[in-house]
Amino acid sequence: MSLDGPFPAATDTAATAIPVAAGIGLRAAHFEVLTQTRPAIGWLEIHPENYLGGGAPLAYLERARAHYPVSMHGVGLSLGSADGLDGRHLERLAALARRIGPGLISEHVSWSVHDGIYFNDLLPLPYTEESLAAVCRNIERAQEAFGRTILVENASTYLQFAHSTIAEPDFLRALAERTGCGLLLDVNNVYVSCRNHGWDAAAYLEALAGAPVGEIHLAGHAENRVGDRIVRIDDHGSHVAPAVWALYEAVLASFGPVPTLIEWDTDIPSLEVLLAEAGKAQALLDWAIRHADAA
């Protein structure tokens, strides 16, 4: 297929570090207004899969990259795949990273590819020693391809496997310890998974104390009725919920100030609304930075 061609070669771009500040996701709906108005925002995060074809999307990305540090947050690498990573896809991601110089590279602790089929969903993993070894293998292979450590993110989950033997935060901590990767702590996902499974969010954070959290995600979620239960779904389609802001404050208090992204991927609002949401995160970050300086 014609979209399958080699990724265009270009000169490498040196990485620009992601500042300890609030950032927003770069979405096609905002390409024009963002590159024209260049609002004061600390950094941008991209889904690299949207730019692997090159063409017009990559041209927009490079315009934005000229003015902002960029973080590369993958959704399709499938770190949890038992049959390993797609080497060709990984090589294309690494080529994109060389070209745009992201300050951070991250992926999810989940799987989305099996047997060559891509499900476009962050599917849950059984938390077992076998899964842990498989995800570690895949993280190590990715870190080798990128030539640097990556961050891995806790996914929202809607089901648990009967044969899981490891608690989720312990699983995350073990990934970091065994591979040297950092963690991307998605506070909304912590909230969603804890509410869906009746876990204690404070205990979840306590189990991660001291873990290398290099980035935080905040997003909105939906509350769906399934049977007689409310299931919280991580749909990135609204404002960050008050309970998630409260949990974010607790995270900043225990992990210190960390680059924080507002994710809003469905029902995408105007850039103004998105920037206002990032402003709320920035205010809390500023507080955490003052607090850290005073300590």
């Binding site: 979209l3 891509y118 969903d121 599917l123 089901l159 779904i233």
Partner: protein
């Protein structure tokens, strides 16, 4: 204890089908936790079909407008189950929708629908194609006249040729504008369209060509020399004139630079 591979195999099958052994195997892995395991699995199945359906609707806005939300979603569900994404990036997903629609019985009353899908996929491919400069007219003019006959002019990476027995350009414009009356008015007539999709700046743009110009460009795209390609143009349209056809195509940038085409 099931292996990770067994878990993923069970989910793979259970996500793409709604019932049967595969679903039982997957739900059997899920911890009982106050909610039916199949309802938990359904959350993921919904996500897969909804987001991939959204991707198709975004790719095929005119087809979507033409058939309406309900019809489109039903067709998308069948398509996704039959042709799930094979690459972990969605820009490469959905290219077989035209072929699928040709065999999709409920759409048989809209014979132009597959061609409309073909046109929208061509525009999508053009949008995502790599950037390439256009052939400079002065470079072409510097070639000795005797070299032109056998010279191969390659089309630019973002150029796509689409041909239809139906007036798909007007159908696309009417459906994109949500103009149902205009769509209905076009519906009755059968008039062939010869189209070129080319990126203008960062947007894919549609050009309507004569039959001769289209067949000439199609022959160029196949790697035929200018002389042989012009004959293909003439065969399709006795009024085809190579010099007259070159000018607009050099202006709009249909060709890749000479340095990148074999001599």
């Amino acid at each position: 204890m099931p292996t990770l591979l067994e878990v993923q195999q069970a989910f793979r099958d259970a996500l793409l089908t709604r019932e049967g052994e595969a679903v039982e195997a997957a739900t059997g892995l899920i911890a009982p936790d106050g909610l039916d395991a199949s309802a938990r699995l359904q959350i993921h199945r919904n996500h897969v079909f909804l987001t991939l359906g959204d991707a198709l609707a975004g790719l095929y806005p005119a087809v979507h407008a033409m058939v309406g939300e309900g019809f489109f979603r039903a067709a998308a569900r069948r398509y996704i189950a039959a042709q799930p994404p094979r690459q972990p990036s969605l820009y490469a997903f959905g290219g077989e929708l035209a072929a699928f629609l040709e065999g999709f019985e409920p759409a048989s009353g809209l014979p132009y629908l597959p061609d409309l899908a073909r046109l929208e996929w061509a525009m999508h491919e053009s949008f995502h194609a790599r950037d390439e400069p256009a052939l400079n007219a002065a470079d072409l003019a510097r070639l000795p006249a005797e070299a032109l006959e056998g010279r191969v002019l390659r089309l630019r990476a973002d150029a796509r040729l689409v041909r239809s027995a139906w007036p798909v350009a007007r159908l696309w414009q009417a459906a994109s504008a949500g103009d149902g009356e205009a769509v209905a008015a076009i519906d009755a007539c059968l008039a062939p369209d010869h189209l070129l999709v080319l990126r203008d700046g960062l947007d894919a743009r549609l050009w309507e060509l004569s039959a001769g110009e289209w067949h000439w460009l199609a022959a160029c795209a196949k790697g035929q020399g200018l002389g042989a390609a012009a004959e293909a143009g003439l065969a399709a349209d006795p009024g085809f004139d190579l010099a007259a056809a070159l000018t607009p195509n050099l202006q709009r940038g249909s060709f890749a630079p000479l340095s990148e085409t074999p001599a």
